[in-house]
């Protein structure tokens, strides 16, 4: 049990300690720290081989947040162990390679911290038994790969690639979260073993397809399936070890892993095949086509990866044992040869200073060792016998061919599998022959030669695996069987051999190679593929359009509302009040004209009200500010009189005093303010303002009357009247309320006043002296 935690968390812990260790052993040697971490993790994985390759999986759970089905659970079966094995194993090689690859002024410590962080996340992802925990690690790989891709962030391209990768993959990630939450809520669990038990229930559920689609969006975006594939080529801006690690064997396979993981839960229904196999197929063909059109070696490899991932996903989409088996095998093989190819490209880039296929040629003379490696990688990729790629591709052909039996339209799968493979064969040949054959290239940025042993070691090892598995495939049998059993939840017991006899798959391979050779040797045919983009509007162009335009659009949208003109803000608030409250009032029939009985009043009250209203309107009407203030003063007096009429002497006093002080304040401030400019308001603005004013005024009147009609019959005020004298010792109940019953309000009130005072003081005193200060002599 412990070793599971060990495997997952060792890289994290080592990553976190990197800055500290770097201080001790020096930046130059921090790479060794990474290698040690990876080795420790790899050792842990090996120690778990018994579960991964045996019959009984390991399933450990640490409770975390049961409400959300969150358990820190780990599930080690053939599938997850295979992935963990690849991740940690290749991780060791990558760390080793990077130790030689990096050079100043790159910050080494940060690189290895990111790399270990990524490795840990990836291990957590594949080992977790819980869908939500898987997603958590999934997002961690997103974050860490974001940091890795943007490692050379001083270059525009690196930032672009990193941003693109995180944005595109997190679209899927978020969808996945949605799907996982819904799935957890309807089933009550997020544990894969539990979910598998409930597969029938899930497949019956009305939300089956939404959940599947949401989860698959995650898988497709991570595994760069069309149309999400766009991020992967730009992610090649990362240092080559990163590309080799992330984009050959680990991160991009997370999607494949997820599909394999949920295979037993979802694969029973047709939607599965329709969705997954088709997307895989499209991606495979498109990816290979793009790879063929590229001249940058890394770009070729990137699209090649896209294509290969499509191939695997297509096979998983078949939802049968053969597809699962083919995928499992191809995952291994692809990791080996593609990882190696990336490292080789890294070497080429490192030694020649360029990755442009049109500038490179004839490197076999100067870099013979590298050439051998490249040869193995390219031929494995092309699916030539004796290399491992051939074997797994053949299995996929077989699986695809079998689909014809399921439904006749599914003949598209074998047909297009061949088409894709032809393209793959062609670009693989390009990789090797264009770079290593032909005239020896002149004018390269650097003088090429074979790299140091350290850099050759990792690709060399992978090359060995490629060849050995290609020749002696039974070595991989246990791995593949265990993984297949895990994917299909059925015992799997296959033999892997080079020769199956003259099966349809073999003929498909023959056709592939034959047409491939024709295609590669006929330059004219290649030219056709190169020159004309089949459609103008590519997904990439859409992304590039969308990225700045969402900002521009947001700016425009916000600019419309956030006009920085406060009158509109007021109108929004008023509008919201009037609409919400008004709607309820009208709905419930509270909206009526003033009833006659409510209008009963003394004559003097009518006259006073008239004066009040006149004064109120005056505040708005007068043009001179002083006149406005005077009118406001009158309003204050009228309010005072109103308070008297309503038997509120304290209020009348307060209002009077406040009125005077307010008038003085206004006059004081008028002095400092500029003359009111004669702002010509258009008639429509005036009408608008009047309409808004009238509407709100009427609304408040109606609201007040409606509430008054339903006024309380008893209130707490009676208590105050009853007890003010006996219990609080005062006859002025208002004052008693202020200083006794509700002292805290009064305390708050004077605090407000105190702050206002201090605030004004600070405001006036702290300001920079106003340049155009009025001549103080006046």
């Amino acid at each position: 049990m412990f070793s599971v935690l060990w495997v997952v968390f060792i890289p994290f812990i080592f990553a976190a300690l990197t800055p500290l260790i770097q201080k001790f052993i020096g930046e130059d040697r921090i790479g060794l720290w990474g290698v040690i971490a990876a080795l420790l993790s790899f050792g842990g994985v090996l120690s778990l081989a018994g579960y991964g390759l045996g019959d009984e999986p390991l399933y450990v759970i640490y409770e975390w947040a049961p409400t959300f089905g969150l358990t820190l659970g780990f599930y080690i079966d053939g599938l997850s162990w295979l992935f963990a094995f690849l991740i940690s194993g290749i991780g060791v090689l990558i760390n080793l390679y990077a130790y030689w690859y990096l050079h100043k002024p790159d910050p080494f410590g940060r690189f290895f911290a990111y790399l270990l962080f990524f490795m840990g996340s990836m291990l957590g992802l594949v080992l977790s038994s819980n869908l939500i925990i898987l997603i958590i690690f999934w997002e961690l790989t997103t974050i860490s790969s974001f940091l890795l891709i943007g490692y050379w962030s001083h270059t525009e391209r690196a930032r672009y690639g990193a941003v693109k990768s995180i944005l595109v993959t997190s679209v899927g990630g978020l969808a996945m979260i949605g799907g996982a939450v819904i799935l957890t809520v309807i089933t009550g669990t997020a544990e894969f073993p539990e979910l598998i038990k409930k597969a029938a229930f899930i497949q019956e559920h009305a939300l089956f397809f939404p959940i599947l689609l949401l989860l698959m969006l995650g898988a497709f975006s991570k595994s760069a399936q069309s149309p999400f594939h766009i991020w992967l080529p730009d992610a090649m801006e990362a240092p080559t070890p990163v590309s080799a690690f992330l984009h050959s064997s680990t991160m991009v396979k997370a999607g494949v892993f997820l599909i394999a993981r949920v295979h037993p839960i979802f694969s029973g229904r047709e939607e599965w095949i329709l969705l997954i196999a088709s997307i895989g197929l499209i991606t495979m063909v498109l990816g290979a086509y793009y790879a063929l059109r590229k001249v940058d070696l890394k770009a070729i490899l990137a699209y090649s990866t896209v294509s290969q991932l499509g191939l695997m996903i297509m096979a998983l989409g078949f939802a049968d044992v053969l597809g699962a088996k083919a995928t499992a095998f191809h995952i291994m093989n692809h990791a080996a040869f593609k990882g190696m190819l990336f490292l080789v490209v890294g070497i080429i880039d490192h030694e020649t200073g360029t990755r442009d296929i049109s500038r490179l040629s004839g490197l076999r003379f100067t870099m013979p060792k590298t050439a051998v490696l490249a040869f193995i990688g390219a031929f494995a990729s092309a699916g030539i016998p004796l290399f491992n790629g051939f074997l797994s591709k053949e299995l996929i052909f077989e699986a695809a061919y079998d689909q014809i039996g399921v439904a006749s339209w599914m003949a598209v799968f074998p047909v297009f599998a061949v088409v894709g493979s032809i393209l793959t064969f062609t670009y693989s040949m390009k990789i090797f022959f264009r770079v290593f054959y032909g005239e020896e290239a002149k004018e390269l940025p650097k003088h090429p030669h074979d790299p140091p042993f350290g850099m050759l070691f990792s690709p060399g090892l992978l090359a060995a695996v490629t060849v050995i598995v290609g020749i002696l495939p039974f070595i991989a049998e246990r791995f593949v069987n265990a993984a297949t059993a895990a994917i299909t939840q059925q015992p799997a017991d296959f033999y892997l051999t080079i020769w199956h006899g003259f099966t349809p798959a073999l003929w498909m391979s023959v056709v592939t190679v034959a047409i491939g050779i024709v295609l590669y040797s006929r330059k004219a045919l290649l030219e056709v593929l190169h020159s004309k983009p089949p459609f103008g509007l590519t997904v990439n162009a859409m992304y590039d359009w969308w990225y700045p335009n969402i900002m521009l659009g947001a700016e425009k949208l916000i600019g419309v509302f956030q006009s920085q003109k406060i009158r509109f803000y007021f109108m929004y608030i008023l509008g919201m009040v009037v609409v919400l409250c008004g709607w309820v009032l009208i709905r419930d029939g509270h909206f009526r004209f003033i009833p006659h009985d409510l209008m009963h009043a003394e004559t003097y009250e009518y006259l006073g009200a008239l004066a009040f209203i006149l004064a109120t309107i005056g505040v708005a009407l007068f043009r001179s500010r002083l006149a406005k203030v005077i009118s406001l003063g009158v309003v204050g007096y009228m309010l005072c009189a109103t308070f008297i009429v309503l038997r509120a002497p304290d209020l009348a006093l307060t209002q009077l005093l406040v009125d005077i002080v307010t008038v003085i304040l206004f006059v004081l401030v008028i002095y400092f303010l500029p003359q009111l400019k004669e702002v010509k308001e258009s008639l429509s603005v005036k009408i608008r303002d009047l309409a808004v004013a009238g509407l709100t005024g009427a609304f408040v009147t109606v609201f007040v009357l409606a509430v008054y009609a339903h006024r309380h019959t008893t209130s707490v005020a009676e208590y105050f009247l009853d007890n003010a004298y006996e219990l609080a010792g005062g006859t002025n109940v208002v004052n008693v309320i202020l200083v006794d019953f509700r002292t805290f309000d009064t305390l708050g009130e004077i605090i407000v006043l105190a702050i206002a005072g201090l605030g004004v003081y600070a405001l006036v005193r702290m300001g920079v002296a106003h340049k155009k200060k009025k001549d103080s002599s006046i």
């Binding site: 043009r623 001179s624 006149a627 003359q675 006046i778």
Partner: protein
């Protein structure tokens, strides 16, 4: 209707009479300097007799109590002339013209009131320009 009521009524009527003349004067008189005489009337005699009437109403005649109320009269007599004076001075200062039929202006040509010079004449003039309501 007893004597006290009669006295109260008398004072109230006198009060309201002067108050209303004050208002009428405020409306009718031709220029600011004439108009300002009107409120003086309302404040002095009008308000005093109103208050007196009220005091008698509440406390009898002669009032045995209600000194506080009477204090209001004192306050008015203290403050009213100052307000009127300040306002008139300000008006004169801001060059508000005397009525065309004013018979004499012995201060003409000596417009400067007080020690200091006029503040910003333009400013006040502008204020004047704007005084017509919309």
């Amino acid at each position: 209707m007893n004597l006290q009521e009669i006295i109260v009524a008398f004072f109230l009527l006198v009060g309201i009479f002067f108050i209303i003349t004050g208002t009428v004067g405020l409306l009718r008189l031709p220029d600011f300097y004439n108009r300002i005489h009107a409120p003086t009337k309302a404040t002095t005699l009008g308000v005093s007799s109103t208050i007196l009437g009220a005091v008698i109403h509440f406390y009898g005649f002669p009032p045995a109590d209600g000194f506080k109320e009477l204090l209001a009269i004192l306050f008015i007599f203290l403050t009213a002339p100052v307000g009127a004076h300040m306002l008139a001075k300000a008006a004169y200062h801001s060059k508000i013209d005397l009525w065309k039929d004013t018979i004499v202006d012995e201060r003409a040509g000596k417009r400067v009131i007080g020690e200091e010079k006029m503040p910003s004449e333009e400013k006040l003039e502008k204020e004047e320009e704007e005084r017509t309501p919309e």
